[in-house]
Symmetry: C2
Subunit: 384 residues, 2 copies
């Protein structure tokens, strides 16, 4: 266990209380400055997505040059993926939500990757039937966020392998086992599928450039913990003649039980709100969630609570506060003691239940076009 001042962040583990500024320095990523945010706001028509406005995304690599190209008339695309090991929870949606916003505001194409092969390789307990089933379930949830069917394509690995493989062959020659071991910590006892996998995860970042025989820049919103992964993709990009993907990094959303990240593998299911949780379960989880409240009502009325450590506030911040005004009010009422934790949880539950209801309807609509979004073959003439 790391001490109180220590933390661990790797693509497969997040532990301890993360010092995000130090992490940015350690990883050598660039700060998402007020200037860059202002530029994004302008390009997006005057508004920023709450995930940007509230600082959930906080560092980047080469966002500036991506926007330079965009302003010069060269559109980019957004790419994010999901390893289907089980149901999605609300904080899994952040990167997809940001992608959707980019698509809506800047008109850019979206590529989703569903890595049903990787999850079979990296999780010994899952069957192929399970990873494929979760792949579909997760895909419906992702598309339900409001992606445009005309500008959204899906790589569902086991279904899309004919589209991915010709490029994966070229990518894989550029990556050694040593690199994979260094980045992911995969020991010699790891299976060769898992070791190979990073080649397939890199392919979508280059795919549109390959398919369109021109340079199409890529933007990947991801958790800061995934930066090492895509650093590998960036390292090999130029050797293959493709632009380095730009990255936008988020902080991790803390779990309901107060852990560093909602998505920590092996965490209790009570740690997150899963999209397939029935209303009663959602209610129980929120009611039991870890907060920054005081020991007594009297104390809290007098001193206020601490939102910075509160998992309920993190939910407001990362997803559920509809506007900056509301988010500000919730934060102020929490700090001042005007609103107690029980009341705050009740308001959040209203909001969450509404989201679940709307999401269920959107998910049914997404089912009607999910299959047709899957890329099944290589671009014409590029079977090599």
């Amino acid at each position: 266990m790391p001490g109180p001042e220590e933390f661990v962040v790797t693509p497969y583990e997040v532990r301890g209380r993360v010092d995000y500024d130090r992490l940015r320095e350690m990883f050598g990523t660039q700060e998402l400055t007020a200037e860059l945010l202002a530029r994004l706001r302008r390009l997006a028509g005057g508004q920023l997505h709450p995930l940007l406005e509230r600082g959930i995304y906080y560092t980047h690599r080469d966002l500036g040059s991506l926007l330079d190209a965009y302003e010069a008339g060269r559109p980019f695309f957004v790419y994010s993926g999901r390893g289907p090991s089980g149901p999605l929870h609300t904080s899994h949606l952040a990167h997809f939500e940001l992608c959707r916003w980019f698509q809506e505001r800047l008109g850019v194409p979206m590529y989703v990757q569903i890595t049903d092969d990787e999850k079979f390789w990296s999780r010994g307990g899952l069957t192929r039937e399970e990873t494929v089933r979760w792949g579909w379930e997760n895909l419906y949830d992702i598309l339900a966020l409001g992606f445009d069917p005309k500008r959204t394509r899906v790589f569902f690995d086991s279904r899309s392998i004919a589209a991915l493989y010709p490029l994966a062959i070229r990518v894989a020659r550029k990556i050694t086992y040593s690199s994979v071991k260094a980045v992911f910590g995969l020991e010699p006892s790891a299976n060769i599928g898992w070791i190979f996998y990073t080649a397939l995860q890199t392919v979508p970042a280059f795919w549109p450039s390959w398919a369109e025989r021109t340079s199409v820049p890529c933007l990947i919103p991801c958790g800061i913990d995934q930066d090492p992964h895509f650093r590998l993709s960036r390292d090999i990009a130029e050797g293959l003649g493709y632009p380095k993907p730009s990255l936008l990094h988020s902080r991790m959303v803390p779990g309901l039980l107060g852990e560093a990240a909602m998505s920590t593998t092996g965490a209790s299911p009570e740690n997150a709100l899963f999209l397939n949780d029935p209303p009663k379960v959602v209610e129980r989880k929120v009611r039991n969630a870890f907060t920054g409240g005081r020991a007594t009502v009297e104390e809290q009325r007098r001193l206020g609570a601490d939102p910075e450590v509160c998992s309920v506030w993190a939910l407001w911040k990362s997803r559920f506060a509809e506007s900056e005004d509301r988010f500000r009010k919730i934060t102020e009422d929490c700090r001042s003691g005007a609103m107690l934790c029980g009341e705050c949880k009740g308001l959040l539950l209203e909001r969450v239940h509404r989201f679940y209801t709307e999401h269920a309807a959107a998910r049914e609509r997404a089912k009607s076009w999910a299959e047709s979004a899957i890329v099944t073959g290589p671009p014409a003439g590029l079977e090599l």
Copy 2:
């Protein structure tokens, strides 16, 4: 360099003068006994293929149980492959020739694998365009041996990946980097494609069982040097619910320059007769080939020559002597001194030129159906 008594045989290297009996003991393979050969002869309608008759194939794994099943009405299939790094030479044809014989005599299906991905990964100097081009060229040469279009299917890796991948996902989870390192000596600096590759090379051995949802035994004729590779396939077969592939192992055909194996990577092009060599080049190579002849004509007439060390005799034995009678006569006339090396080479050249002419015509016919033999998708209902 190994000393005169030493030799090295691995899937990627053959050096020194190979002691085949010792190799069989080291690898723990079973002797191809007179009894097994008699049984094969009977099943094949009274004749053995020269490669069996002359002892080029000399050990096996589980051939007996394969024939038991065949006699009980459960047909097997034959499988062999080629890594397309350049033109084929005549000794590359041996395994395919034996497969063709099994198909003709026992009516079994044949699966050919063209590993254009693996050769790109394992040979840094080759481009994708080259491995694909050689893949087609090699495939035409293989099919030209006389395979039956109705019972012959081809996995051309980059074209067949959608057919191979669902099963490769399952196979790859069973193989660790440690195993690949132990069997192939692939160091951590090896690229992850090459490391992954052995999964794809194992797939055809299980593919018919998977596709037909029943147990279909597999027979793989291969050089004894490739035994470690397929031992890996055998090790994981039962865990996946498939029968272990049976193996038939050959000695290596010595090169024209007297080296241990014609196929040694990096050997001089003068070491082998390539199928795209023009007649003049074939003539030069045969005329310059290493023989077991004596220093002078007089001495050879008196003492005879030594066919066992002669690369020309090896060509007669492995491919070009049409009948056992002719092969016996050539061997006797060599040993007795009745035939000198120049005369022998002249007779061989006649035979080789005739083969090249007939092969060229057969190759044109093969081109007409090669494309249609390629498996491009998974078996219906088995996309998992």
